[in-house]
């Protein structure tokens, strides 16, 4: 397979032809904020809208997870316009996220904290009004709980669940602001259909899916392997 050479933040990089910028960057230890990208999934979800970067010669920032790296491309992940958009997207998420880090099992390993730091976004945003969904927490599973209020709808859990099971348990329901990750037919997450593999918990960036007992053992995984 052919490879392409590009530069990201001044660093020279080679990548296989067809590789997306996000992947090329992450594999070369250049972090770009992302929540919905999944390493083993070829088609990007392109849903979180945090991975904006600037490309030399292009007016508008682009999402790094959807754009292929090409030969000679010059990428800037720290451009102000791209970061500005990423911050807005991030703060929109935070305005609908119950922020209580001190009492959250994710504290310290939370990807939202990591992203806030990286792009200079605020965890407690003043720019937008707080719009919480106030959905019930599901703790029917013996191993883990699911708090939909913390979910950022990245879709990682839905994807891993589909990889493990013929008929997936997790999926999305409803439209617009009401969109949620839910189980098949809305049954409790502890129902028979769940294999208790807890793969979904491992990939959740916000601990919306969190192990009971509050262990923080797994640490930051980011980018699903």
């Amino acid at each position: 397979m052919k490879s392409v050479s590009l530069s990201i933040d001044g660093k020279k990089i080679t990548a296989k032809e067809g590789t997306k910028i996000l992947r090329a960057a992450l594999e070369n230890d250049i972090y770009i904020a992302n929540l919905c990208a999944i390493k083993d999934k070829a088609e990007p979800n392109a849903a979180c809208r945090l991975c904006f970067v600037e490309i030399e010669g292009e007016e508008e920032p682009v999402t790094a997870c959807t754009r292929e790296a090409t030969d000679g491309m010059v990428v800037n992940t720290r451009g102000e316009r791209a970061l500005e958009l990423a911050r807005t997207g991030f703060e929109l998420l935070m305005a609908s996220h119950p922020v209580d880090c001190a009492n959250c099992p994710a504290n310290g390993v939370c990807e939202l904290q990591k992203i806030a730091k990286h792009i200079g976004g605020k965890l407690k945003t003043k720019r937008f009004r707080q719009l919480l969904r106030e959905l019930p927490i599901d703790d029917s599973n013996p191993l883990f709980t699911y708090d939909p209020n913390k979910c950022v709808l990245c879709g990682r859990c839905v994807w891993v669940c589909r990889q493990r099971k013929e008929t997936a348990l997790l999926g999305f329901a409803h439209r617009g602001f009401k969109r949620v990750v839910t189980t098949f037919a809305g049954e409790p997450i502890g129902a028979e259909r769940c294999l208790d593999c807890s793969a979904c918990v491992e990939v959740c960036p916000t601990r919306a899916l969190a192990f009971k007992g509050g262990e923080k053992g797994l640490g930051y995984r980011g980018w699903v392997v």
Partner: protein, 635 residues
Amino acid sequence: MKAAERAAVADAFKEIKERAESRWRELWHNKPVIMVGTATCGRAAGALEVLQTFRDEVKKRNLDCPVIEVGCMGHCYAEPLVIISKPGYPPICYGYVNPVIAERLLKEFVLGDNPCPEFVIGALEENDIVPSFTDFPRAQYEQKIILKNCGHTDPTEIDHYIAGGGYSALAKALEMTPEDIVDEVKKSGLRGRGGAGFPAGLKWEYCRNTRGRPKYIICNADEGDPGAFMDRSILESDPHSVIEGMIIAGYATGARYGYIYVRAEYPLAVERTQIALTQAKKFRLLGNHILGSSFNFDIILFQGSGAFVCGEATAMAASIEGKPGTPRARPPRMTTEGLFGKPTVVNNVKTLAFVPPIIRNGAGWLKSTGTKESSGTAVFALAGKIVNTGLVEVPMGTTLRQIIYEVGSGIPGGKRFRAVQIGGPSGGCLPEPALDLPVDFDSLRDAGAMMGSGGMVVLDEDDCMVEIARYFLEFTQRESCGKCTFCRLGTKQMLEVLNDFTLGQGKIEDIDSLERLAEEVKAGSLCGLGQTAPNPILTTLRYFREEYEEHILMGRCPALMCRQLIAYYILPDKCERSCDACVGSCTVEAISANKKRIKVIDQEKCVKCGTCLAACPPQYNAVVKLSPPSEVPKK
């Protein structure tokens, strides 16, 4: 295609055409024909009762007078519409017909000699008896290409379509090479009528040149914009024109299957399209070996659930595949990886309906109509504060003023023009100075609006621009699929701010932050829904910013529309002592008479329903709306 195959196609079509023409001639031979417009707009006004009356009367009297159903002529303001064609007379169109008028038309015109001028809308040809459509000012501006057959033929009779020249473009196309057809469509300058105006020929070429089989053509008839109904109207009135366009598109791109994606809420369009497909198949215009050639093409009618976002091409493909209808990132383009991962062309109903006349008349013919960059005509659904609501088809480049004042006959009730909302939820509101804008894809985009679906809502002095923006945003917010952050949460945040404005709440700085967020939602969203949802906000902010400011700074709604910002007040010097029409009309008993028998509204009790304003007799007109409510004089 080999010469023998070409000859076979020509022969096969000749036979079909001759049969259709002879049936058509027979229909009109020496007898009156009654045509009732029974598209959805006609039915809503009672066309089926009118149809039944004509049928009963004709049967009762044993007349040789066919009564046929036709589609929508576009004069929706005057439904139900009936055309009577009688030897010795021009075909005459009657409006606002009801069963009583129908009986009279039958007795006095069909059986007698009185064409009943009092019910005439216009004759279809010039004559000395009654006024004709060509005498209307609008005739000078209208030019019907894709609405030509609508309302004049029976959509359930393929012979009517063929007798009028239908399917001759397909027969001609099959004798051309696919490359020549793509070329012809490219040269015609045809741009997609689904909203964005992408060149159709180029899209076809991408698909044709991409490897992967089977390829697909999708006809987009989702039509989710609340103000638009032209695609429904075309499928109900002239489905074969769309089907013929699709078959040609299939041949040109090398596609094997077509899907017509129509919303299930359009039952009549579904029914008539299904009938048309069955007939086309029976005539071997569809299916295997079309017209005896080696070309095979099938069309499947798919009924969508009616989500607005499913009108977006990638969401539509997902929906047909049985997956949730959410958009995906592009590239890959649909022409590279579309339906079931195969090269796919998605075209709007109207785009496809343009194809047969282009092939019949040549690329130059379409180019001769419209503007340099937007050839052909545009179809608009006129609605709102306009006299002639309905469908109009005018050349691209016609000005908004001509469309609204000449074709649409202006604003009723002597009210002042305020703005025109074009393109529905993805479009924008344009002010008075934009009226002289020649309308085409690019001029509208430059003005901040969009051709979109072609909805055109005229707004007058009683319409509040902040409320209009809020109304459309409420729609897009509800219809957002919720997949991506900016659209899911950004539209919700913007809606909250707009809700506050219509209540007179919020701070002046909120206007700037709303504008900034609107720009960012536009830039940051994944699909066209989120990318265009801010347009109604951005255009009203651009052209009517002072109205926002009045709402916030003065608690005043200049159009007197936002309920929280107005109060009803009875002008003491206009109120008539002996009248108490308003008192009884008020459902919450907020109105009473004072010592001088002048009526007074108790502002504490008033729920601002406005019935008193309607109840006050026009000779007094004593009830008025005041904004802000503090304008109500204190005793």
